[in-house]
Symmetry: C2
Subunit: 373 residues, 2 copies
């Protein structure tokens, strides 16, 4: 195999597909990037068998072929090459010469025989949105995916996000037992209904690759076991998680005894300050004492104590309620509104943070607290 391409094109491609290459794997072939020029394009592939990414780069193919190159080494080499044309020349023993002018680096590649190719996904059933909307909606929901590592007892379905299409809108939901995040996105067209669970890990990597332009589209296609994302010259395929997701629509959103309207930034800054007093591993709650036009935030830990009054508008009863400050912050930080509304029933019932049109709904469970003096 032999081809010539620009360093920057190769580097971009390598950076994209590397997101699907595991750092360590029991199958060393998965630690490689597959380069394939047999189909008259230069394609790069990374695949950890759960998530696979393929991208096509510009260049001139001189001889067709396939090689698998250790991803970390190859990407380090490409990054450090002069910003010029790079020639990649692979002989029948997969000895790979990477050269530019009077510079030659030689590494040993592998045959691509054992490499797992991306599955083919039928595109009959696909939806389109802007990359910017796609990236935003992921960022706004991914933090409450349960982070269950290998062997964790977390329920499988909570390690993913629920992707739903209802005609002309899409809904993403995630939950981890302490909070729920729900975002709704208006689509440009009507589509068939869909309901799948996509691994949080896959979405996390994908959102790093999508460049986020409002003018650039992403096409999402569904099959029984996979979801495919296509944009630019890149195709990403992720396995789906099997099982039944928690039934979000069972929750009752409309009742409340206390409604608070607060400036989001003031609220975030105050909780953020309270976190200084909470040492790692210590589960001190932040206590909210909601009165007529004032919210008193207080926290009391081994490090010290804090009291801060914030101006609010209140409807309904006074209430004292406590939260894990981190869970509150995660939700508040991905809302763009200047003012937000909190809906509460009592100190034991979930707090809903949502706007009127319900394009976002964040649910945070309260925690027990002892009154701070």
């Amino acid at each position: 195999m032999k081809f010539i391409c620009r360093k920057q094109d190769l580097l971009n491609g390598v950076n994209i597909v590397s997101k699907a290459v595991p750092n360590r794997s029991t199958m060393s072939i998965l630690e490689c990037i597959l380069i394939n020029t047999t189909r008259d394009v230069i394609s790069l592939t990374g695949n950890d068998t759960e998530l696979g990414i393929e991208t096509i780069i510009d260049g001139e193919i001189i001889e067709r072929g396939i090689v698998a190159l250790e991803a970390k080494t190859f990407s380090d080499i490409v990054r450090k090459f002069p910003d010029d044309d790079i020639t990649i020349d692979v002989d029948q023993n997969y000895k790979t010469l990477i050269s530019c002018g009077k510079l030659v680096i030689t590494i040993i590649g592998k045959s691509g025989e054992e490499y797992t190719y991306l599955p083919d996904i039928d595109k009959n059933n696909s939806i389109i949105m802007s990359q910017m909307n796609f990236r935003d909606i992921i960022k706004q929901t991914i933090f409450s995916v349960a982070d269950g590592g290998e062997g964790s007892s977390v329920q499988q379905t909570t390690k993913g996000e629920l992707f739903e299409v209802f005609g002309d809108y899409m809904r993403l939901s995630s939950l981890d037992g302490h909070r729920i995040s729900i975002r709704r996105l208006q689509l440009r067209d009507e589509y068939e209904n869909e309901k799948v669970i996509v691994p949080g890990k896959s979405l996390n990597e994908i959102s790093k690759i999508v460049n986020g332009g409002a003018e650039d589209d992403i096409e999402i296609s569904f099959s029984n076991n996979h979801i495919m994302f296509e944009f630019g010259n890149t195709k990403i395929v992720s396995r789906l998680i099997e099982g039944e997701f928690f039934d979000i629509d069972k929750m009752s959103y409309s009742n409340y005894e206390t409604k608070v309207t607060v400036n989001r930034k003031d609220f975030v800054d105050s909780i953020d300050r309270a976190c200084i007093l909470v040492k790692e591993g210590d589960k001190k709650p932040i206590v909210l004492n909601i009165m007529d036009d004032t919210l008193t935030m207080s926290i009391n830990s081994i490090v010290g104590s804090m009291n801060e009054d914030i101006s609010i508008e209140k409807l309904g009863k006074n209430l004292m309620i406590a939260f894990n400050p981190k869970f509150m912050l995660d939700a508040l930080r991905v809302i763009e509104d200047e003012y937000i509304d909190l809906y509460m029933v009592n100190a034991k019932a979930p707090c809903f943070i949502k706007n009127e049109e319900e394009s976002y709904i964040y649910v945070v469970l309260p925690v027990n607290f002892t009154t701070v003096q």
Copy 2:
């Protein structure tokens, strides 16, 4: 004690003196910042007994006093405070109220009784230079200070830099057994000769604080056991290292058999690329084959091999010589010249990198190598 100051002033002061506060210490009082308003100024001090920093901040003193506050917590709190006036109010039990408007954070401080104050240094004997020159000359020599941690067998004197004043110029030297860095700086005035060894750790912290302005001066004073640096409202005192430094002037600089002139950036880029092929802990040398107008760089490791030709000008004999690429890079990266001169005698003798006026001299010892095919 009680005083009011601007958040940003307090934060700047805390950031400066924190550089001398150890993360962990057997003496918990050393993990504190001392705040002292008894001398009609608000002074902050950090001191790990080797390095001490004192800075004075603007503000209004309402009641004189002294308190020691745990540095990490206090600096986190100040950083997260609103950008406004902060009031610090300490009662006789060192209960410390840090407040701004309707926000109050309370932490418990300590008495300053056990705190080690900075020693007084006589300023009869002091030199002055721009902060920019001072910071540059440190950066250009500090990397070859021996990094001997606690209990390391490294010679004490090599953990510091030799600071020398000879009339109207200063010289800084450091060495670690593999390389030597020497920088000379012209001073504005004539001074008394000085020769002291300053701990590399102190210089490292100081260079982070000095803001580096060409118009702002730094004054350096010497005593038998200490060196003091003063600039702006800040005073830094470091202990000196006792002992005899390696006699640099014994080295012979002028003989050479091979002189090479090379574009510094090309040389750096090539060595940098070669490093990709060297895994952590692997001590592969980079081999330089010096011929009439070409320098061939080569390296051969378990990862792969590299060959690159660089254009040079050469005087004297052809030579094949090898170096630890990291040691070469460290020196080359702090030289500003576009072209540099290397002076060599043979493959076993040190290589000198220096300019004509010898304002810098970097010495790198070669390493053994087996010829690369």
